[in-house]
Amino acid sequence: MSNAAEVINPEEVVLSINNIEVVYDDVIQVLRGVSIDVPKGSIVTLLGPNGAGKSTTLKSISGLLKTENGEVTKGDISFLGKRIDNANAAEIVSSGLFQVMEGRRIIEDMTVVENLRLGAYTRSDNQINQDIDMVFSYFPRLKERTGLAGYLSGGEQQMLAIGRALMARPKMICLDEPSMGLSPLLVKEVFGIIEKINREQGITMLLVEQNANYALKAAHYGYIMESGKIVLDGTREQLLNNEDVKEFYLGGGNEERKSFKNLKSYKRRKRWL
C-alpha cells in the first residue's frame, strides 16, 4: 500500500491514524484496522459507501465517539505529534482540530453571528469580530442573513457550518459530507470554497464524502473505505484512473458491463484485494 505522506509531503504529517479499531457498545465492531495519514496543507478525502465507517473514523478523531458509546480499542491517533485517541472533544478542538459534523448541526435558534461566535468558543483573544468579517468574505451571502440560522437554506447552513469551523482558527478541519442534501450547483460552490480556504489559509482538510466525483477533484489524496477497512488509497490521479474506482464510484468504466443487471452480479462477486 502506498502512503499519503510519502507521496505528497514526507516532512510533515498533521494527522496520523495508525491501525485503529473502533467498537460501539462493547460489541459492535465498526472499524477493523484503519490507517490514514493526512499531510500538512493538503486535502485528503475518505470515500466509501453507506455504513463503511467513514463518520465513525471522523468521530474517533474528534473525540465525539464517546458521546455515542464508542471506543477506540486498538491502535492510536496522533495530531501534530500528540496522542489524541483518549482526549475529550473539548481538548481536541483546543489543540486545533475541528470537525464539521454530518448534517451541519448549526444551532438553529441562534443567529448567524451567534453561531459564528460559538465557533470561537475555545479562543480567548479579542480578534473575533475581525474573523467574523473574514468568514463573511468567504461567504458573502451569509452576511445578509440576519434572522435565525434555522431559516437558512441547506447550502447556507453548510456554509455557516464551515464558517463556524474557521472561527476556531483550526490547523485542520474534518468535514463530514459537506455535499449532503445540496443541489449540484451548490455542491460545486461549497467545494470551490473548501479548496479556496485550503489554499489561502493553509488549513489541512480531511473530507469524508459519498460524492466521489467532486471530492476527488478537490483532494490531493484519497482513501477508499469499505466495511471498516481501507481498501485502496492513492493520489488523485491514481484514483481517477483506477478502473475499479471508475466503475464503482465515478460511474462508467469497463465497457463490457454496460447492463446494470450484469454490473450488480459482478459487483457482488468482486472483492477488493
Partner: protein, 297 residues
Amino acid sequence: MNTDLLLQLITNGLIVGLLYGVVGMCFVLVYKSTQIVNFAQGEFLLLGAWVCWAFLVYMQIPFFLGFIFTMIFMAIFGVLLQLIVLRPMIGEPIISVIMVTIGLSIFFQALTKWIFGVAPQSYPKVFEADSVNILGMSIEPAYLMSMVIAVLIMIGFYLFFKHSKHGLAMRATAFDQQAAQSLGISVKQVFAMSWGIAATVSATAGVVMGMVNGVSDSLSVMGIKVFPAVILGGLDSIVGAIVGGLTIGVLENLAEFFDSQFLHIGNMYDIAPFYVLLIILWFKPYGLFGTKDIERI
C-alpha cells in the same frame, strides 16, 4: 368595590410576580440546559434565606456584605450539588432524576429544620422606613428592593445569554449537546454552571422574600408556585417564565381580592394558580412561549 385595595393587590401581585419570574427563569435554565425538572427549586430559596439570616444574626455581618456572601455560598453549593449528586445521574432515566430532586427537596427541608429550628425567624431590620409611599400606595422597602433586584437579574440574564460566550455555550448545549461538544464546549461545565446560577439567583429571591415575610418553611412553597408560572409561559422559554410569573402573581392577588369581596370561599390566593395550571394543560400544553421546532420548508 374597594379600588384602593384592588390597586394595592395588583401592585403586590406584580412585585411577587417578578420574583416568581426570577425563580421561574432559574427553573427553565436548569430544565433547558440539563433536561432536569428540579423539584428542589424552592429549597434553594429556603436555604439561601436561612444562610443569609445566619450571616446577619449569628455573625452580625452588615446586610449587603452578608447578602454577597450568601450569593457566593449558594454558587458553590449549586455547583457542588451538580457535581456530587446530579452528575452521576447523567444518562439515567428521567424519572430517576426527578425522584432524586424530590429527595433533595425533602432532605434540605429537613436539614434546615434541624439546623435552624421550626419556628419562623425574622430578618433584622435593614431599612429605616416601614413603608414608602408611591402614588398613594404603601410599598415595603424590601419589596421595592426586590423589584430592582428582579429587574437587574432579568437584564443580567438577557445580556449573559445574548452576549457572553458562556451564555451562548449554554444555549448551544440546550439545543444540541453533541454539536456543542464538537465546538469544544464542555457539557459538564455547562451543567455545573447552570446549577450554580440557578441556586444563586433563587437564593436572591429567597432572601428578599425572607426579609418581607420572615424565614420559614413556607418559602419552599415558591418552588411549587413556580410550576404554574413556567408552564403558563412554556417550560423552555425564559421570556415565558417572566410573563408567566407576572401573570400568576397578579392573578393570585386578584383571586384573593374577589374572594375577600364577593365569594368568601377562602384560600383562593394559594389555589388559584393551580386552577390556571390545570386550564393551561388542558388547552395549551406547550404554554404561551414554548418553542416549537423550526421546520424548514
